[in-house]
Symmetry: C2
Subunit: 367 residues, 2 copies
């Protein structure tokens, strides 16, 4: 298999990534009369493989009463996707072989049998890894056209709102507190750290390369960054947080969570957002040592959450986040991969930490 | 060593337990001119032994400026005492060999060089395992004479307030929710479960004997009780909480915490109050499996606390708890052991679950 990445020079804060390969399937991204899709071939056994998915093409479906036919424009790739396809399940029913791979998307309404939406409307949807989907109109969220669609996939989207609710509602940052964010160069972590800065905290990022560390420190304004691939995590955290950590925003779990837990300060909060270090493993690491003892002794809170539980306040979050982006207080990078056919390898790369900023697939052109 | 327990018939809701032994030391509990004390002989290695303490007698100390001399009336025995004397420390500095064993007490002021207290005042103090102590007046809390002193050692004391703040502030029970309490026949668990009943919850207690289970179910009004020594915990919890647990008030840690964690319902809260199953072990059990994964997937909160952190609101708690006791909505048992000389074996018994209700030592008569 020939597979290579070509990183275009950053355009503003958008970096386009192309994954090209000498394959013949599904080259075009324009309007077609077939629906291309990836279905799950099997539950992965350990590290995700491209062969865990099957490409198939079929007819475009017809919307039923109350439904809408959407054309996928962008497909979000998120570490959580990997957890969905484990046999054991996650916060949603596990995907079963033969099922279209689910995924968060932005789409354009092509045909509507739902009174609240018209052809041409742009919606946030969960169409999955395919060109077209028929979805219940009630499940869709029409996007305000004020911001570029790419921003709706990113700071204003699932990952930005995850950072917003996780940090503010679960972490409850106070001015002057020390906040540590893992996966700091990822879509969620980069926003969580910047919100912590806005709230007057001292912010330390943990990321997996010099480039990522430079980005969060130099461009995003984090106070410090720790490269977990080159530094001892426990030592790095002790040096960066000599008085302890007030909030640890955890995107990764595993050894990083263990090191942070041991460095937590009395009354600290651990925001359990994700555990990307574990999703792609056949056998997960044991839970971090010190539970419940350390939680009691240091009066710590560990709390997990899923962003959708907070969607009663999604408009508040979107308004605030957009405001911060416009003020230049939240910066971002987009990591756009062209072509639905590249979804499996782009997800595999995401799980290996290849991305800086939000990774997404451009499935079709916006216009 | 000759050691036996004689349980007097319950008097009202007070059960007096005597531990008698053919030893000669410190028989009297009346006013003496010596200060009898237990000091830590060594950090225990695994299960606590009587020989981990040394009995000694010395002169009664003299209060310095701002200090008060107290005569200990009651000494509280709490599972946490065991964690304080481990080498590793706990939520307070570890006790070192040669130091008087610390403990929560109620005492009578004998002499005062502190303007806010007079001889004869009754105070909550931390005098430790001894007859007399000189303490800073600022550290003492004068007790309202409205309730019997035994109640101040129990429902109105440390354990009752631990139940109050842990359940209400950390657990945040809602009407109709399912609450599981371990150590349900203990001083803290029995009150936590009854407060949960007052708040309209369904309450399941976990305890270690038929007698304890009968007591929490029949006398305290818990909906169900599980005898963890005779039933499979996971099975018992699945049967008692088929729709899951909303709040798990954990006094014990270990295998019980693991079983409860797996049965938690979405949005559940685990109140990490204690881990008595672990304190007396040379090597603690590993953390329960499923962290952080389960916390995220089920949106769980695990939070540790120490009651003193909430003492800004202690009067509120005491008022409420006393009100519930007077209304007959909180019932209790006292497990009173006579004589300071019995403190080590009474603590060992507490760690083995010999008590029903609040265990304390009566060091001297109240009048």
């Amino acid at each position: 298999m020939v597979l290579w990445f070509r990183s275009q020079k950053s355009v503003g804060n958008i970096r386009r990534v192309r994954i090209c390969e000498s394959i013949h399937r599904g080259k075009g991204t324009g309007m077609t009369d077939t629906n291309r899709q990836f279905v799950l071939a099997r539950h992965p056994d350990g590290e995700l493989q491209e062969s865990d998915f099957t490409w198939q093409e079929g007819p475009i479906p017809e919307p039923g009463p109350g439904e809408v036919l959407t054309r996928t424009l962008y497909l979000s790739l998120d570490p959580a996707n990997r957890s969905w396809i484990n046999k054991g399940g996650s916060y949603r029913d596990p995907v079963v072989p033969g099922q279209v791979m689910p995924g968060f998307t932005i789409g354009r309404v092509v045909a509507s049998r739902y009174s609240g939406l018209d052809a041409g409307d742009i919606v946030e949807s969960e169409s999955g890894w395919q060109d077209f989907a028929c979805l219940r109109g009630d499940d869709l969220y029409r996007l305000d056209a004020d911001a570029p669609l790419e921003l709706w996939m990113n700071v204003l989207g699932l990952t930005g709102k995850t950072a917003y609710f996780g940090l503010l509602d679960i972490g409850q940052p106070q001015v002057g507190e020390t906040v540590v964010v893992s996966g700091a160069a990822g879509a969620t972590g980069s926003v969580a750290g910047q919100i912590a800065k806005i709230k007057g905290c001292r912010v330390i990022g943990i990321a997996g390369s010099q480039e990522k560390c430079d980005w969060v420190r130099n461009d995003l304004g984090f106070d410090e960054a720790i490269d977990y691939k080159r530094q001892d995590m426990a030592e790095g955290l002790r040096a960066a947080c000599p008085d302890g950590i007030d909030i640890y925003f955890d995107n990764v779990g595993g050894a990083t969570l263990q090191a942070a837990l041991l460095q937590m300060r009395r009354g600290g909060r651990i925001v359990c957002c994700g555990a990307v270090s574990q999703y792609d493993k056949a056998k997960r690491d044991p839970s971090p040592a010190g539970i419940p003892g350390l939680l009691i002794v240091r009066r710590l809170k560990m709390q997990g959450f899923i962003v959708m539980d907070h969607y009663g306040r999604r408009r508040e979050a979107e308004r605030e986040l957009l405001h911060w982006v416009r003020e230049g207080r939240i910066k971002y990078r987009l990591d756009i991969v062209d072509g639905l056919e590249n979804a499996p390898r782009a997800l595999i790369g995401l799980l290996h930490g290849d991305n800086v900023g939000k990774r997404m697939i451009r499935v079709a052109a916006e216009d």
